[in-house]
């Protein structure tokens, strides 16, 4: 195996034509030949330049407009203008809560952070929580209550509901149906149950494409009832992940990532855990695994059975492995069970949402057989208030609708017309319902089919509650009144009751007063009586902490139903390799890592976020292995075009499955198994906002209820069309100068210096400028490549904190994305089974900064604390600094990317950071606004800034605690200790830039039996 790291498949192929293309800096300027060699073109260029210079000079002659100061009439006690406040609230996704602390400037929420007191967050966040602010202010949100397209007042809706409900009174509600997503809110569940008591024949259906249907059914299969498994990664020495991305997706992932990363510190080699991942599409979890086995999703179950049998699961029968599986997995079925058995009680097997219930049941059985239950796995009551088989529930609803028995359908959240499996015919069945009501953030595909469209209040505008992955309940409290008159599900349900005007605040408070948690200090009040003052005290405490104490579920015992293990699920046919017209492959459906099932499709931050591994923005694609791509495409011509800031132009492929077709661009991914493709859901929207519509293709067009997560025998055929994909993996290449260092644990403990092999450290005297002494603070950062899971939370966190604009697909295609921190994916080894590493790259704040010496106007200069300051109002846009930056971390505002006009978007900006205009260079400043704020506070107390007092936005967002910032002059600071450690290395240190940001090398805990 070669020891070189690579980033793109073209690089690995070492095609000289590719190298030449990459080195063209501005291919878009050079359509045919060199513009500078053509005298006519050059003259035109000079003329244009002269004119624009003159105009640019004139635009500076503006006077600052007179501004108003508008003070309060009666100032609220807590608000001090200029000082932000933080409130605890909760974001629920797929029914499961993540606790947040949200920063508010004079009543405007501007930034969401994790709540360290909440178990599902543990202080970290995911990209969705970080991007929630933009969804709140999204000007495309549904803004008015409409009935068949006409704007109506809320009272008209209440009237319509009263009439509908009265008509149902005599029928015992037989025509009422409620469709929700997964519900963990105790209040909402109580409201629905109350409704079902009043109307015994009404029905409650649930459908949530982001929920964990297979995990739910797997638990029922294994234990005969719905239970939730809680995983304790802090206690696990060996983890086997079966097609799951537990580090970045699903309930409690932020907390899981923190616990997992804490067990991967090579400085404590004996505590280092080992992760095996069996998966199809490469995920962040698989990339962090010490051993990863890429395999088609349908082949995972037989392999798991073999492992289960060797682990000693009673009743598990190992089927003979197909030759395709055996080729990669022969060593695995021996080595992995052995390792698991060697760590009885401290191992952990976890299955993913894309795998059938049988695999989940096998995982439960293995944990039982390994004695992990009670130590690394704990079972509790389900977090969902009413767990059901959601697909069946949706099917029942469609059947009822088709039968014409549904008179009133309330769709509370979700977009079932878009997310329902294609074969159910949900949309056409919906047409047969007499009165259809849809509550949603956007006027989307489902809204278009409903009579009433109610704008939903964003969670930052709502009173509600939700449970975390371990059952911990917390209150969702609003930070701002609904911007667009949105309503909550509580209020819509109340409209069906006898007190239709009740606010969700009163509904939630009443629920918790009537259902006090264990150990509450107040007595349950009599209905109709005022709430006791003790309740108010407890309520204030819950709101302040962001959690309700003693609400986490207690562990419970479950008994394994051994019969569940035996039956192998059907559909293990191996796809035939070729047939007329196309290639037969297997297709796996996954929620998109950035926009999930499409619910975040109109969020520009998430759309422009390079997806983990693929670094694709603004689109989905048909992800396949390089070999499969070649087979489908029938050629191996490089799809990449256009230089350093280039793009991927890919073939459009048609997928045909059971008479349904969809077309998408094909995208080869290293580490993807052969003979199968992965497609992400959530794209190809036809309604629901300006950004949502038009991006990508709708993969659910071929997703049927019988093959929800993977479909066999899909025909893939080239169409001959080409399509441009905005992929940032080709941008900011570092010319292969060993940016990532990785060793095995054995190598590291034998010789910790091994990561520094071949290092060239230039002498400190090799500078024209005299040495500068940093006497006060000396800021620095250490980024642990070993801990980074590539989840992107830091990228969105930085974007929210620093008012970074969204530029759009067309600009990303030109390499003009503006993220101040990027995450590079590096591979090592063969393209079929590479090792994968993530490297977040912000500005390095070099002490010998190459950018500073080339700036003709002094717009980037060094501060006395070692920050590489960027002075926007001095910058004239020569871009010399960017040219001279070896790390390629400077970003230029080629156009006026920031939206200066939309009032709603102005509210969400961080007032402590300048909003940059066109023609200005910008970059990471270590969140200098946070540094200054902390310094000012410390100086007011006549003390130094304490270690850990300044947390940069990326560090705060990171669930894996991979980024540490602090004062290098304080030898006891965390960052100083990390930088003094053996794993510390400087990126491109041989250039004598002396970066303040350094990296900690990755150390893989390899199982010697599996080799490397």
């Amino acid at each position: 195996m070669t020891n070189a790291f690579w980033r793109t498949l073209d690089e690995l192929g070492a095609d000289p034509a590719f190298a030449e293309k990459v080195h063209r800096e501005f291919p878009s300027l050079l359509p045919d030949g060199d513009i500078m060699a053509d005298p006519v073109a050059r003259r035109t260029f000079l003329k244009l330049m002269g004119a624009s210079l003159a105009l640019a000079g004139a635009t500076a002659c503006t006077r600052q407009p007179a501004e108003k100061i508008v003070p309060y009439v009666r100032q609220p006690e807590d608000i001090v203008p200029g000082r932000p406040l933080f409130y605890a609230t909760t974001m629920a996704l797929g029914g499961v809560a993540t606790g947040l602390l949200v920063e508010s400037h004079e009543g405007r929420p501007t930034k969401a952070e994790g709540n360290p007191l909440h178990p599902s967050s543990a202080g970290g966040t995911d990209v969705f929580a970080q991007a929630a602010i933009l969804s709140l202010y999204d000007p495309d949100r549904s803004q008015t209550l409409t009935n068949v397209g006409e704007i109506r007042p809320w009272s008209a809706f209440l009237g319509a509901m009263r009439a509908a409900v009265t008509a149902q009174q005599s029928l015992r509600g037989a025509g009422i149906r409620i469709l929700t997503e997964s519900v963990s809110s105790p209040t909402l569940a109580a409201q629905i149950r109350d409704l079902l008591t009043r109307f015994p024949d009404a029905k409650w259906h649930q459908w949530d494409p982001a929920s964990r249907e297979n995990a739910r059914l797997g638990a029922r299969l294994a234990f005969g009832e719905f239970v939730d498994a809680q995983y304790r990664f802090d206690r696990a020495d060996v983890v086997l992940a079966l097609d799951t991305d537990f580090l970045t997706c699903g309930p409690g992932s932020a907390g899981h990532a923190r616990a997992f990363a804490a067990r991967r510190r090579p400085d404590e080699p004996d505590r280092m855990n080992r992760l095996y991942a069996i998966e199809s599409m490469p995920t962040p979890t698989g990339s962090r695994a010490d051993h990863r086995l890429p395999i088609r999703p349908s082949l995972i179950e037989p392999l798991v059975r073999s492992i289960a049998q060797r682990v000693g699961v009673a009743g598990a029968v190992a089927p003979p492995l197909s030759s395709e599986t055996a080729a990669g997995a022969d060593k695995w079925v021996e080595a992995v069970p052995k390792d698991l058995l060697a760590h009885r009680g401290t191992s952990l097997v976890i299955a993913g949402d894309g795998q059938p219930p049988a695999v989940h049941a096998l995982a439960h059985a293995m944990n039982q057989a390994l004695g992990n239950v009670g130590s690394t796995v704990v079972y509790t009551d389900p977090v969902e208030a009413a767990p059901i088989e959601q697909l069946q529930s949706l099917k029942d609803l469609v059947a009822d609708m088709n039968a014409g028995t549904v008179n009133l359908l309330l769709i509370l959240g979700g977009n079932p017309a878009y997310t329902a499996p294609a074969d159910l015919g949900f949309a056409s069945a919906l047409d047969k319902v007499a009165l259809r009501v849809h509550l949603s953030l956007y006027d989307d595909e489902t809204s278009a089919l409903c009579h009433w469209q109610i704008p939903e209040a964003h969670f930052l505008e709502s009173w509600s509650d939700a449970r975390g992955h371990d059952g911990t309940a917390s209150i969702i409290q609003p930070l701002i009144a609904p911007l667009y008159g949105g309503k909550t599900a509580h209020e819509v349900l109340a409209a069906l009751g006898d007190r239709p005007e009740r606010s969700s605040h009163d509904i939630v408070r009443d629920y918790w007063a009537q259902n006090p948690p264990q150990g509450a200090s107040f007595a349950r009040p009599q209905p109709g009586k005022p709430l006791p003052p003790e309740f108010d005290q407890a309520w204030q405490r819950w709101l302040h902490d962001g959690v309700i104490p003693n609400t986490a579920f207690a562990p419970r015992t479950v008994t394994l139903n051994s019969g569940s293990i035996a039956a192998p699920s059907t559909g293990q046919t191996r796809p035939s390799t070729s047939s007329g017209g196309g290639t037969k492959i297997e297709v796996a459906f996954r929620n998109d890592p950035s926009i999930l099932d499409g619910r975040f499709a109109n969020n520009g931050w998430l759309q422009e976020l390079p997806k983990p591994i693929t670094r694709l923005t603004w689109d989905n694609a048909i992800f396949v292995s390089p070999a499969t791509a070649e087979r489908i495409r029938g050629s191996n011509s490089p799809a990449f075009t256009g230089g350093e800031h280039g793009q991927i132009v890919s073939d459009v492929v048609e997928l045909r499955y059971q008479g349904r077709t969809v077309r998408g661009a094909i995208f080869p991914v290293a580490g993807h198994p052969d003979q199968c493709a992965t497609v992400h859901l959530g794209y190809g929207r036809t309604r629901g906002g300006r950004l949502a519509t038009g991006a990508g293709f709708n993969a659910s067009a071929i997703r049927t209820s019988s093959a929800l997560w993977f479909a066999d025998d899909v025909e893939a055929a080239r169409t001959g069309d080409r399509y441009s994909l905005a992929c940032t993996q080709y941008h900011h290449l570092m010319e292969g100068r060993s940016p990532v260092r990785a060793v095995t644990r054995e190598e590291f403990s034998r010789d910790p210096k091994s990561i520094h092999e071949g290092d060239e450290t230039p002498p400190r005297t090799i500078s024209l400028l005299p040495e500068y002494r940093y006497d006060g603070y000396k800021w620095g950062m250490a980024i642990d490549v070993n801990a980074c899971i590539g989840c992107n939370a830091c990228v969105v966190g930085c974007q929210a904190e620093n008012n970074i604009p969204v530029v759009g697909k067309e600009q990303v295609l030109r390499g003009r994305e503006m993220h101040w921190i990027r995450i590079d994916t590096y591979y090592r080894g063969a393209a079929e089974r590479p090792e994968t590493y993530f490297q977040p790259v912000p500005c390095m704040q070099c002490e010998n900064a190459p950018c500073e010496v080339v700036c003709p106007v002094g717009a980037t200069v060094h501060s006395h604390e070692g920050l590489n300051d960027m002075v926007y109002n001095r910058c004239v846009g020569t871009r010399y600094c960017s040219n001279n930056c070896p790390y390629k971390v400077r970003r230029f505002n080629f156009l006026l990317y920031q939206d200066w006009d939309t009032p709603a978007l102005k509210l969400g900006r961080n007032p402590d950071v300048t909003v940059r205009s066109r023609g200005v260079m910008e970059k990471c400043t270590y969140c200098v606004q946070r540094i200054n704020a902390a310094k000012i506070e410390s100086e007011k107390d006549d003390r130094r800034v304490r270690d850990g007092e300044i947390v940069t936005a990326c560090q705060q967002a990171c669930p894996a605690d991979a980024i540490v910032f602090g004062d290098l002059n304080d030898p006891n600071s965390r960052v100083a200790k990390l930088q003094a450690g053996a794993r510390n290395y400087a990126l491109l240190g041989e250039l004598n830039t002396r970066p303040r940001t350094t990296y900690l090398a990755a150390v893989r805990n390899v199982n010697p039996e599996l080799g490397e």
Binding site: E67, V73, P81, G82, R83, S863, H864, Y872
Partner: protein
């Protein structure tokens, strides 16, 4: 062929070449001075306000401390402009029927804020923090001038960067003891430099001139 130019053209050209140096220098000086003048900076230009509020009356006449109205000055970047409620604390009783104060009463009645015209307006890319300056011994009048003699508020200083830097480079010329920060009648003593150097040491005042101190 006769000469095109008369011989005097030689003198003219010499004078103009020599003069050009002065003309250009003069022009530059004019530009610099205009740029520093109140025409550009708006310094010493009293602003019209929706209410004829007089700092002279309230500060010199009634002896009200700055912090009675500008409550956040010690804790926040923004000193704070008082809510209507603060005005009404007194004016519910004093001059309760004065027609000048009708906008204040109207604001209190209707809940509509009074819209003051901003007098000290830094550019949006400058981040100034009142609380730390007050803590380090920069008096209110050092920047805002003798507000007790301003019937209508005006901007005393140019608020240009050279003015900021003058103090950031030489704080000892301007700082005063902490207990005198809010005194409007404070006058720098004759030994200001000596006192200033001592205070700079005592208050650990740093001479911060890095760009990111103010620009982010």
């Amino acid at each position: 062929m006769s000469q095109i130019f008369h011989r005097s053209a030689n003198t003219l050209s010499r004078v103009s070449i020599f003069g050009a140096v002065f003309i250009i220098a003069g022009l530059l000086a004019v530009i610099v001075e205009v740029n520093r003048s109140p025409w550009v900076t708006d310094a010493h230009v009293a602003r019209e306000q929706p209410i004829q509020f007089s700092h002279e009356r309230h500060v010199a006449g009634n002896g009200i401390d700055c912090r009675y109205c500008h409550t956040a000055v010690e804790s926040s970047s923004f000193a704070g402009v008082p809510p209507t409620k603060t005005c009404m604390n007194c004016h519910a009783q004093i001059f309760a029927n004065s027609p000048f104060l009708e906008p204040v009463r109207a604001s209190f009645r209707t809940g509509q804020s009074i819209e003051w015209t901003r007098v000290h307006d830094l550019p949006d890319f400058v981040y100034f923090n009142h609380s730390i300056h007050v803590r380090k011994g920069v008096g209110c009048t050092t920047c805002h001038g003798q507000v007790d003699r301003m019937p209508l508020m005006w901007q005393e200083a140019s608020l240009q960067m050279e003015w900021c830097l003058d103090c950031h480079r030489n704080p000892e010329r301007y700082v005063r003891p902490r207990d005198a920060v809010f005194r409007v009648d404070y006058a720098p003593p004759a030994n200001q430099l000596e006192l200033g150097r001592r205070l700079v040491a005592d208050y650990q005042i740093q001479k911060l001139t890095s760009c990111s101190t103010c620009h982010r």
